[in-house]
């Protein structure tokens, strides 16, 4: 139980800090302050990823031979902390390097790995994950995108949805149905695909938050080679589970304002009985948020400790998003109500904190759904951590094509 750095860790931190001080400043000098989700922002992100990769700070726990840093999980945590302190961090690579590329590494032939891993680490190519569909969200295995074999190729038709970054990604891993006569989990097969193929069309989704960060992706007679298959035909679900397992290890920070930001706001505002920060009900909420945030932070560290001791962290890290998404919604709404009548204003030029609370309020509902709804995550905890029985299943042994679909 030691929350201090060991001498080796302190040395690593010192080195990382020095490196960041020099390189982050140089990076900022070159690119300045850019608006996210713009082409310029992407250029800057790729530059930073390449800079990190050259110094062994990208994919720190991966072997150096494939472009990683050859380091330990704890080093990865340390660098992440220092990078966050330096105020740098681009989200474009998280899904690719956290989920897709590890899946490629686990299932592709050596030639494919040779071709793709290193460019992904350097940020030259970005990957997306094509799993969810209109008819398969929480129930991903109900997906309908069809892949039909044609000699040495497969022909793919169908639609994915909620694909993060599909519009800027170069490659993706795609889960398809290859055997509709088999029960739903057994008729799936995974491929990697070229997102720039003309048979792939991305359409941004207009979200309730106003943004367009996610996409619908349509496949019309997309032809892929059998060598692009990841895992055996019919084993797509097993491959997908490896992808999702890696999702849990991808250490994600929480999106949006936290207890510090709302404290800052509360310092500035008046409440019904005096300064908002002195309002007792608010203070109790603040304490709860702090305890939850710290709890999550240290839970992530415990996961890393398990990793560094050679244990495999299980699905217990599913608790993270349940807490952070719900906290964001509660915290944002508390802030908006604290602004009283003024809270309705959403223009960053007018609303406090550049409208971060209003934006988070509108973003939080999506966060509670994306990457596993609150309810599905609770099922995962109940079944995979606590060992409780699965849901009563009416779809398990039925051929996929005979399953009721509601439309």
């Amino acid at each position: 139980m030691d929350f201090n750095d060991s001498p080796e860790e302190a040395a690593y931190r010192e080195k990382a800090r020095a490196w960041l001080a020099e390189n982050a400043a140089a990076h900022r000098a070159r690119f300045g302050d850019l608006k996210p989700n713009t082409p310029e922002h992407m250029v800057a992100a790729k530059d930073w990823q390449a800079t990190k990769a050259a110094a062994g700070y990208a994919c720190i726990t991966w072997p150096a031979a494939i472009g990683g840093g050859g380091g330990t999980p704890i080093q990865s945590v340390i660098f992440g902390q220092e990078e966050a302190k330096a105020g740098l961090g681009y989200g474009y690579f998280t899904i690719g390097l956290g989920m897709c590329v590890p899946t490629v590494m686990a299932f592709a032939d050596s030639e494919t790995k040779q071709r793709f891993v290193s460019p992904a680490v350097k940020g030259e190519e970005i990957w997306c994950q094509l799993f969810s569909e209109p008819a398969g969200g929480s129930d991903v295995a109900a997906l309908r995108t069809r892949a039909v074999r044609d000699g040495d190729e497969w022909v793919i038709n169908g639609q994915k949805v909620w694909t993060t970054g599909a519009h800027y990604c170069d490659y993706g891993i795609l889960l398809t149905r290859t055997d509709p006569d088999a029960p739903k989990h057994k008729g799936l097969t995974m491929f990697w695909i070229d997102m720039k193929d003309p048979a792939v069309e991305c359409r941004p989704i207009h979200q309730m938050s106003g943004g367009r960060e996610f996409n619908e992706v349509y496949f019309t007679d997309l032809r892929v080679k059998d060598s692009q298959r990841l895992g055996e035909v019919g084993d797509g679900w097993k491959v997908a589970l490896v992808t999702l397992m890696n999702e849990r290890l991808a250490v994600g920070g929480s999106a949006g304002p936290n207890y510090r930001e709302i404290m800052k706001l509360a310092r500035q505002l008046s409440g019904p009985t005096g300064p908002a920060l002195k309002d007792q009900a608010f203070r109790e909420k603040l304490a709860d948020w702090y305890v939850q945030s710290e709890g999550l932070k240290f839970t992530r560290f415990r996961t890393m400790t398990a990793l560094s001791r050679g244990q495999t962290p299980g699905p217990e890290s599913s608790i993270g998003k349940i807490i952070s998404a719900n906290q964001l919604q509660d915290l944002a709404n508390t802030a908006v109500e604290m602004e009283d009548q003024y809270g309705i204003l959403v223009d960053p030029d007018q609303a406090p904190a550049e409208a971060a609370f209003q934006q988070s309020l509108m973003w939080a509902p999506g966060l509670r759904i994306a990457g596993g709804t609150d309810e599905i995550l609770k099922n995962i905890i109940a079944e995979r951590v606590l060992g409780l029985p699965g849901e009563v299943r009416v779809d398990k042994d039925v051929p996929f094509k005979d399953m009721p679909t509601g439309r």
Partner: protein, 371 residues
Amino acid sequence: MDFDYSDDQKFLKDEARKFLAAHCDVGVVRGVLDDPGRSFDDKLWKGVTEQGWLGACIPEEHGGLGLGRVELCAIAEELGRAVAPIPFASTVYCLAEGLMAFGSEAQKAAVLPRIAAGELIGCLATSEGPGVVGPATLTCRVEGGKLSGTKIPVTDGDVADAALVLASEGGRPSLFLVDLKGAGVKRETLKSLDPTRGVARIVFDGAAAERVGEAGAGFDLVQAILDRAAVLLAFEQLGGADRCLEMAKDYALGRYAFGRVIAGYQAIKHKLADMYVKNEVARSNVYYGAWALNDDAPELPIAASAARIAASEAFWFASKESIQVHGGMGFTWDVDCHLYYRRSRQLSLVVGAPKVWKERLVGQLEQKNAA
């Protein structure tokens, strides 16, 4: 960085669990619960003494084992899991830890060896009535080394041999060590929400009192002692919360309704998942607290507050929802759920309610983030 018990600490914790399984089964707890004449189990107290737990952190020169605080946390977690009916927290977390932090060499030499040997039960006496005790409401007084006034409730005050007492002397709040077996001490055992732990009213009428620590620093000293105790109590709360989740899970897996086990229904699964989430948030916070305690880190006030808030919430939630999962059986005297429900209240109140700790936490955050 290392965010878990070490292998040695895990071994100690396993041994503690085995010992308590053998010597503190639920029959021992119920023995105290059902006997109004007893508020702790004497035999278990002797056993715990033989294990060396009372002196786990007491230096070897004073008859203890000189172990670290994380080892004590591991023991505390197991005591909480077993709802152990002994005055361990009052004696070890409050009196022993308090004297080790602030006592004079003479006070340490007089008291610590007796604690380690199981010859002395301790307690901490601050409360004087309903509501939060503060400088304006403190009525116990010391004049010429003699203490007068009433403390109520004093956890384990019915059986304790010595107390740390908060009282004012010359108008300044200070902390005093009082021999409860001496003259001028009258006490009365009171009824508690949790009869497996004793509480008393203690009336002092000219009892000999010896100051501990600096004069006038009473509230600061008490707060520092409470910070330390809060971390250790949080481990007891975590142990209890984990046990509630286990009991609820086991029951749900064996109970059939509508043709299948109730553990298969989402309403139950999600309830148990909610317990798990709260317990993990608590575990992470109390581990951080253990580190801060062990290292005597400047973060201790914040870490202790967070540990206490998280562990109080987890144990309360798990203990009440465990009854719910057990259904009607959970509401009976014979099923053990209420032992945990009672203990969760005892542990949440004993060193100040969560509300008080939330205020302490936010106050600390205000100082830390004062911009």
